[in-house]
Amino acid sequence: MLSQEETDRSYEVKLGKIISLTSKPMHYCAGCEHGTLTKLVANAIDTLNLRERAVIVDSVGCSVFAHEYIDVDAIQAPHGRAPAIMSGLKRLRPDLIPFSIQGDGDAVSIGLLELVYAANRGEPITVFLVNNAIYGMTGGQMAPTTPEGMVTTTSPQGRDTKYTGPPLDASKLISNLEKPAYVKRVLLPIVPLPRSKGVYSARGVIEGQKAVENAFKAQLMGGFSLVEFISTCSINWKLQILESKRYASEVLAKVFPPGLYKDRFGLEKRQ
């Protein structure tokens, strides 16, 4: 028998109101996937009933205000350090559910050590990595994930990987470690369907929702989880929004192939 509060909550979820989402308008640019991910995460927190245990650890970059939209406890990490903060928090309070939303500059460049070691220890924490192949908030500089040839403000001739080294693949790197439980890469933007002009698939959103829930489930089962979302940054890519969706699916998805990289608990088989 559900309590009145639980009944209300279940209706609100069914009717589309996400309890763990604040009513504050998001600051993200038009066409950016950060807003989509924010909703997916808040929705998963509702679905798994984690609101009173979840702690979001903001990163430095576009997700630095994520706590203003996701209505749970929050800590603001120094640039790249979210996995270390989550590790310390989880060791002291194993009942809490810490998770971060980090960009590729934050997690794969300045915070790579923190990410790798938290994953290597198998800390029961969750990292949502938004990979848009560029530094967004600082205005479009080259990121560790910038693909060959992409023009950024610090690679104005296009990235020359002979000079800078190739883009770093975080999902591949982390999934090669022994302890992580769940590593998945999702192409989050809508994707233009071939031979159907003007028709797009939002499959990434559905997959993303499942991946976010699985990532939390992996943590609840005691494992480390990472979900990387291939995303767009049309403002800094200097592309029209729909062109940037095409670029994500045609270029980025080739450099960073979406897919299930690790699933030690068989979470995807259970569904």
Partner: protein, 353 residues
């Protein structure tokens, strides 16, 4: 029950923290502080310390201080220990903790610098510990033990100050004190529980807990800094601690903290036997600097000799605190070398003449 122990300074810090109810320790090894994590690793899981729930060796100093931030955000008593080079790396996290107003304890067993320097005792991290150290304007509370006994009792004091003011606290020791073995008696600490209504322990209804340091609106940041400024003023007003030894009739007052103050006390005792009026003023809190007491002392016709294991850092605080900065002289030893008491005696005699 009172237990008497003959232990090293670094071990005393570790047991002092455990007896004060330490919940978590995260650190990266570095000489000359490594006996602290070694001692705590040995005691982790010991039923005598049921509150000690987390011990983890980190992959870097940065990881360690951020683990401390994560633990402290839950309202737990968390600490780390390091030495000079590691203390530099931790400054980023300490700045964030100051901005987020987190109570945490950092032990710096000061070795010689800059750079790798060497493993001998120095007090050259005085500026870094007392003047902020990281980016932005903030103040740590800094405690300077001068005996193994104080190494054992200061973690408890540090936690009570950290939680009272929601502020990082540094215990600034040195390589000599870390290795020094002395007889001590562990203080009877009642394991204080602190109220932490701000801690990130899960949202309840409309009430959630935010541990943040970003205020994009200038007005908001201004208000936050005014709040910090008021807090630092309160700390300055209520928490100055110092020890005065035979200063009342002294013509020359030695000013020293940590291991240097032990040598200076010996000098005072020797010179007093010869009838020379010399005393010792020992800051126990380096931040807040005990300027009231030394300011009061400077009202008489006294000269001050600041003895430090660095090129002269605390001397600036002494000069600001006394009535006439021309009455302040300094004596410095560094590179891991302690001043001989005979050298200090010679300096005092020159001033006394």
């Amino acid at each position: 029950m009172i237990s008497k122990d003959f232990i090293r300074g670094n071990e005393a810090i570790a047991y002092g923290a455990l007896k004060a109810g330490l919940n978590g320790y995260f650190a990266y090894p570095i000489t000359p502080s490594s006996e602290i994590p070694e001692t705590l690793a040995k005691e982790f899981g010991n039923q005598s310390y049921p509150e000690f729930k987390a011990f983890l060796q980190s992959a870097s100093e940065l990881e360690a201080i951020n683990m401390v931030i994560g633990g402290a955000s839950t309202g737990a008593k968390v600490m780390t220990a390091t030495s000079g080079p590691g203390f530099s790396l931790k400054q980023e996290g300490i700045s964030y903790a100051a901005g987020m107003e987190l109570p945490l304890l950092i032990v710096n067993v000061n070795r010689s610098g800059p750079g790798l320097g060497n493993l001998g005792p120095e007090q050259s991290d005085y500026f870094q510990a007392t003047k902020g150290g990281g980016h932005g304007g903030y103040r740590n509370i800094v405690l300077a033990p001068n005996s193994v006994q104080e190494m054992a009792s200061f973690p408890g004091l540090a936690f009570s100050l950290a939680f009272k003011y929601r502020n990082p606290v540094v215990i600034l020791a040195d390589a000599f004190l870390g290795e020094l073995k002395e007889d001590i008696v562990f203080p009877e600490v009642s394991q204080q529980k602190f109220e932490t209504p701000w801690a990130t322990t899960g949202a309840r209804g409309d009430k959630r807990h935010l541990v943040l340091s970003l205020n994009l609106e200038f007005e908001d940041q201004n208000n936050h800094l005014e709040h910090l400024q008021k807090k630092y003023a309160d700390i300055d007003k209520f928490e100055q601690r110092a020890e005065s030894y035979l200063v009342d009739d002294a013509k020359v007052v030695l000013v020293a903290y940590g291991i240097a103050s032990r040598i200076c006390k010996e000098v005072v005792n020797r010179l007093r036997l010869l009838g020379i009026k010399v005393g010792l003023f020992r800051p126990i809190t380096l931040s807040p600097f005990p300027n009231e007491e030394i300011g009061y002392l400077s009202q008489g016709q006294r000269k001050f000799l600041v003895v430090e294991l660095n090129m002269g850092q605390m001397i600036y605080d002494v000069k600001l605190a006394v009535r006439d900065s021309h009455t302040v002289d300094s004596m410095n030893r560094f590179g891991g070398i302690l001043p001989k008491s005979s050298e200090i005696v010679r300096e005092v005699m020159l001033l006394h003449a």
